[in-house]
């Protein structure tokens, strides 16, 4: 089957809170935007039964419900959605390629918002019992199927404890395996106190998973190992829920994007990666706090940065680094006095030497994107362009009509 090729301004990889927010910003900026999500739009937040701390929802909101609102808003701004997985990417150069099973998507900008995937224990037997066979990562998905049953939760972070409490509404008993000493948990204090007071919850301290055991059909028990004594505790359960953290979804970006040792994408405060035109947002980034609220902030920055990058690249390509007359690019800042003092030099050039040289003014006050693309030093300065390339830089003290005209190769008549 021949591959289709489709053109977009922006392709967003990942449909969680970060990707959806980036989509809302790009769509609203009237960029032709595609969001690719491998399964359910909404990302990790859809695995959460209650989101209590996302501002604007004083009564809290279900994760799936909240994300459905994000989804609707992105659709309203014309974002296209494709539910499939990305096989590979080519991020270098002006046109980026995002490859899926049937189609190659070409884009000017790629926003990586691929988030994370649940970390596994690596214990024996784990592979045999994933998903419907007894090991789950989603309490909201599998809680009802465990009504009046005994379940094991592995982990003690916010996700583990909050989802564990949610499971007590269905299960008859929720056993929690905690790696730490008795009374020490990784979750917030409020959740911890509520969980310790919950009569349906039972704790096995200082333990990690040693082995998953069962028959061909289903998981039957989990062998926990006490990390201090080495004691093995065979724990019969109907389902085991793993909440032991996440790993970033960045395999397909290796060798193209700068990643941390742990595989997270390195970005600056503008959500720029090392690759021009490629931005990253949300849990896939190396960052301090991973929440819906912070993913939304990242997504907004990435979406705005994408719009700026596309607009500024077009100016650089079609108005600055293109053929035609020699050109002088005045990099200035509207709120800087020295910058304003030099403006008459350029007005005079436009009036007297319009046949020899073209003047382009770049105000860096609102955005210094063009100046960065041209590797310009701090404003005020001038760049002389001939045949699509910068041939000379003039510092503010060197800016005068003669230097500009001789630098541009024009006969000054002197």
């Amino acid at each position: 089957m021949e591959k289709k090729v489709e053109q977009y301004d922006v392709v967003i990889i990942g449909g969680g809170a970060a990707g959806l927010t980036a989509g809302i910003y790009c769509g609203r900026a009237r960029l032709k935007t595609l969001l690719i999500e491998k399964s359910l739009v909404g990302g990790l937040a859809t695995y959460t039964s209650e989101i209590e701390n996302y501002p604007g929802f004083p009564e809290g909101s279900g994760g799936t419900e909240l994300m459905e609102l994000f989804h609707k808003q992105a659709k309203r701004f014309g974002v296209k959605f494709k539910l499939t997985d990305v096989r590979s990417v080519k991020l270098e150069g002006e046109t980026k390629v995002v490859e899926t099973f049937r189609t190659d998507y070409h884009a000017k900008v790629v926003i990586v918002a691929s988030g994370g995937k649940p970390r596994l224990t690596g214990a024996a037997g784990e592979d045999k019992y994933l998903y419907d066979k007894g090991i789950s990562f989603c309490a909201t998905c599998d809680a009802a199927a465990n009504t009046d049953k005994t379940v094991l939760v592995v982990g003690s972070g916010d996700a583990a404890i909050e989802e564990g409490m949610f499971l007590t509404k269905f299960a008859k008993k929720v056993i929690v395996s905690v790696m730490h000493d008795e009374g020490t948990m990784d979750c917030n204090e409020i959740a911890k106190n509520q969980a310790l007071a919950n009569e349906k919850m039972e704790y096995v301290w200082n333990t990690v998973v040693e082995e998953f055991k069962g028959d061909d059909e289903h998981l039957r028990s989990v062998v926990l190992k006490n990390v201090k004594t080495g004691e093995l505790i065979d724990t019969p359960v109907d389902t085991c829920f793993l909440f032991i953290g996440y790993l970033p979804n960045t395999e397909i970006f290796k060798g193209q994007l700068d990643l941390t040792k742990g595989g997270y994408v390195l970005v600056n405060e503008r959500m720029e990666t090392n690759m021009p035109g490629v931005f990253a947002a949300g849990d896939v980034c190396e960052k301090f706090l991973k929440q819906v609220a912070t993913a939304v902030g990242d997504g907004a920055i990435a979406g705005y940065a994408a719009e700026k990058y596309i607009a500024e690249s077009e100016i650089v390509e079609h108005q600055i680094l293109c053929g035609g007359k020699p050109r002088v690019v005045y990099i200035w800042n509207a709120i800087d006095e020295r910058s304003r003092e030099l403006l008459p030099v350029f007005e005079a050039l436009e009036n007297n030497n319009a046949d020899d040289v073209e003047v382009v003014r770049v105000d860096t006050y609102k955005s210094n994107g063009i100046a960065r693309m041209l590797n310009a030093p701090a404003a005020p300065c001038a760049l002389l362009v001939r045949d699509g390339a910068v041939v000379k830089q003039l510092s503010c003290d060197e800016i005068n009509a003669e230097n500009i005209l001789t630098g541009c190769g024009c006969d000054t008549g002197a």
């Binding site: 491998k38 359910l40 799936t64 099973f101 199927a145």
Partner: protein, 75 residues
């Protein structure tokens, strides 16, 4: 290369995945299965499971909260 349909509308986890696994086992390489689901939980495990097996997966959102998971058996 035959195409099969599996109606899992109204069914909650883990039933849709169990049915999908059973149906896929009966099919030949190159056959395509279209699973209709309307429980979002099945969107988390069916595509994940099928991709882990190495099959090709695409999803169409038929309506708000209703999907067709299209799985091409590759081995």
């Amino acid at each position: 290369m035959a195409e099969f349909a599996l109606d899992c509308l109204g069914e909650a986890c883990p039933v849709p995945l169990m049915k999908t696994e059973k149906k896929m086992a009966e099919m030949a390489v190159g056959d395509v299965l279209v699973v209709n689901i309307d429980h979002s939980c099945a969107m988390k495990n069916i595509p994940e499971w099928a991709r882990k097996q190495g099959h090709n997966v695409e999803i169409e959102e038929v309506d708000d909260g209703e999907w067709e998971v299209i799985i091409e058996k590759t081995k």
